[in-house]
């Protein structure tokens, strides 16, 4: 009789515990947030090799030939320059974050508006095309920005005194990449002004005309 009592007690406590734990586990799986991947700061051997390859490609592409005096000048001054380049590298990360958010929000607003207007029966083909083109421009910007970040990173991390020619080639490549990124950002701004705004204006006119037409009918 005593053993039966103990068995009853044990079962009555274990069963709800199992149910509660199952429910809690299910809630945890549905509410887990995705973890943000963290980037490493210590360059690995593979990253160093990749950097050397890029520097060599730039040297081969630009075919720079520095005089002895130019090399000596660079060797003497490149370390101080790298200090400024490191601060510019941090600024570039901030540029990436801010632009990513701006462009993502822009696409999201336009997409939401297009969905609502299409549900009302308006012709949103032009807006759809504009959104697609905008997405392509943003992808180009992101690609060029990644190339610029690599160039700045190589410029800040390389041994400029050991390879002044490579430093000079990387500096020139960084300047070119930076200019390209600026042009991409300006292109997006111009596209908004020249294409997206007029498209939205046309849709606004359609909206204004629609209630009047429904009233007449």
């Amino acid at each position: 009789m005593k053993s039966r009592t103990l068995v009853t007690l044990g079962i009555s406590l274990l069963v709800p515990a199992a149910i509660v734990s199952t429910v809690a586990a299910q809630e945890q799986t549905t509410t887990t947030k995705p973890q943000v991947a963290q980037t490493t700061t210590v360059p690995t051997e593979a990253q160093k090799k990749a950097m050397q390859d890029r520097i060599q490609q730039r040297k081969d592409a630009q075919k720079l030939k520095l005089t002895t005096a130019q090399q000596k000048r660079l060797k003497d001054r490149c370390k101080n320059a790298q200090g400024k380049i490191v601060s510019e590298q941090a600024k570039t990360n901030g540029i990436e974050t801010s632009r990513t958010k701006i462009y993502t929000d822009t696409v999201s607003r336009l997409t939401t508006l297009e969905t609502k207007l299409a549900a009302q029966g308006l012709d949103t083909a032009a807006l759809k095309t504009a959104i697609t083109t905008l997405k392509t421009q943003i992808a180009t910007f992101n690609t060029d920005l990644a190339a610029y970040k690599d160039a700045v990173s190589d410029l800040a991390a390389m041994d400029c005194t050991a390879d002044p020619t490579g430093f000079k080639a990387s500096l020139e490549a960084t300047r070119t990449a930076r200019k390209k990124v600026r042009e991409d950002a300006n292109a997006i701004r111009a596209y908004n002004k020249d294409t997206i705004k007029p498209t939205l204006a046309a849709l606004r006119a359609q909206l204004a005309a629609k209630p009047a037409a429904e009233g007449a009918n």
Binding site: L9, V23, A119
Partner: protein, 172 residues
């Protein structure tokens, strides 16, 4: 007969050593030597802590070695040795409390599960069945303005100017 050796091979009053089998006829043993020390076999009487008792207690000691004991006679003493405690009550209160706790925990778990299921169902139905709200001219204007504000907040010409990486600025 040597497997059970008496504890003491003390001679009896008659000068004879008594073995275990001699205990069988108890009455005869008592009659022969009432004051004699009855040797007790150690192997078969493990709970004999006391020295051998007098003839009066021989029955109880020999009862522990039920070689020839009667079943009926042994069952009664054994039953008497472990009497059930009178007035013992069943532990109903702890059982009831445990059952109530179990039921409440189960109820809470089921309620939480159903609540969660309800939430996921309403979320799905709202996404699939609820119609998209209609847009007005104000919505179009608001979108236009928000995009302009966002794009103008980023000064690309200043953030990505050429002067930052110039030889002059880097002192090269």
């Amino acid at each position: 007969m040597d497997d059970i050796k008496p504890a003491e091979n003390k001679p009896t009053a008659t000068g004879q050593v008594m073995d275990i089998q001699a205990t069988k006829p108890v009455a005869e043993a008592t009659a022969v030597a009432p004051e004699a020390v009855v040797p007790q076999p150690e192997a078969t009487t493990p709970d004999l802590a006391e020295p051998p008792q007098a003839a009066e207690t021989e029955n109880t000691t020999t009862a522990d070695t039920p070689v020839d004991a009667q079943p009926g006679e042994e069952a009664a003493p054994l039953a008497a040795e472990a009497p059930k405690p009178q007035g013992h009550k069943r532990p109903l209160v702890p059982i009831i409390v445990a059952v109530l706790i179990a039921l409440s925990l189960s109820g809470v778990a089921v309620f939480a599960y159903l609540n969660q299921q309800k939430k996921t169902e309403t979320k799905q139905t709202s996404q699939t069945t609820s119609p998209a709200p209609s847009a007005t001219s104000a919505d179009v204007d608001e979108t236009n303005q928000a995009i302009d504000t966002d794009l103008n907040s980023a000064n690309d010409d200043a953030d990505l100017d050429d002067n930052t990486l110039s030889d002059t600025n880097l002192n090269l």
